[in-house]
Subunit: 176 residues, 2 copies
Amino acid sequence: MADSVVLDPVDLDILRLLQNDARTTYRDLAAQVGVAPSTCLDRVTRLRRSGVILGHQLRLDPARMGRGLEALLSVQVRPHRRELIGPFVERVRALPESRALFHLAGPDDYLVHVAVTGTADLQRLVIDEFTSRREVARVETRLIFQQWECGPLLPPSSTPVSTSASSPLSPSVSGG
Amino acid sequence: MADSVVLDPVDLDILRLLQNDARTTYRDLAAQVGVAPSTCLDRVTRLRRSGVILGHQLRLDPARMGRGLEALLSVQVRPHRRELIGPFVERVRALPESRALFHLAGPDDYLVHVAVTGTADLQRLVIDEFTSRREVARVETRLIFQQWECGPLLPPSSTPVSTSASSPLSPSVSGG
DNA sequence: ATTGAAAGTAACTAAAG
DNA sequence: CTTTAGTTACTTTCAAT
């Protein structure tokens, strides 16, 4: 569970480039990093096996998918016990409107990132899927004006890094 | 700016499959969708050109990158004027700890998703990069226990969809 | 717009430095 | 660990429908 991973400058360069465009070929990767293509293949294979690389994902434009409005829902689930929060998490993950779900420390137990058609859709979602539930004590809705991704994800220090970590991030992408 | 896009069942199948694994070959895609590989290539090319597909991204495990602690920072920027929020957004986006940034409607102006080494790193980040800034009126920090992605992103209704949308989502991934 | 087949590249394997 | 060479597989083009 706690795999020890060492990332050298070559790994970091590769990861940085692939975060910009995951379709970059090993040949292009090799040219920019300064090693042979087969070395790049080997590094990427190792990074996938070691769990540093979780997967390759398509980034879509929610607006062009017909979901032009996004919002964050802060949710209190009370009582906050396993019997209630387990099913709650699974139900929220299964909603087609859900993009991400966070279990938090603080007065608001969960934060749900949702993408909807418009305000009517959002209202329906909040009422029918959240506030109408007995275990949901409170929902606070905040609209998203604009959002930015802030990659690439890099190690804390600039020198080779050794990490021993059991990831709290669920590797599965699709709800199920 | 408001490109009209029509997604038929073939497009939706392709997008659904690629969201599970963006490395799926056109050959495999074709076999599962029931069209020729060249058709899949054509569809994907169109989806990229039309802006539905923003890019192919690598998903990494923050913990194995040496960032085992994640948090959400709610930030009030006052006064909330363009002269202040523009530079604020750019500075936050440029932080190596930032993973995502949201501009919100509500009492908290911004939500920042950060990944750090530990509590000491988080404390330093909050104090040195946020609360010490004159334009930052208030910061509220919530730790992330666990998080889930909830894909795949699909259109609101199950039948072919026509959308006319100018996206509020910034297409750029890397801070810059 | 979709197809099938041909041509061009890339991914991957294996053997050697 | 890296490189080079060679095999397999995929991507891409294109003429035809």
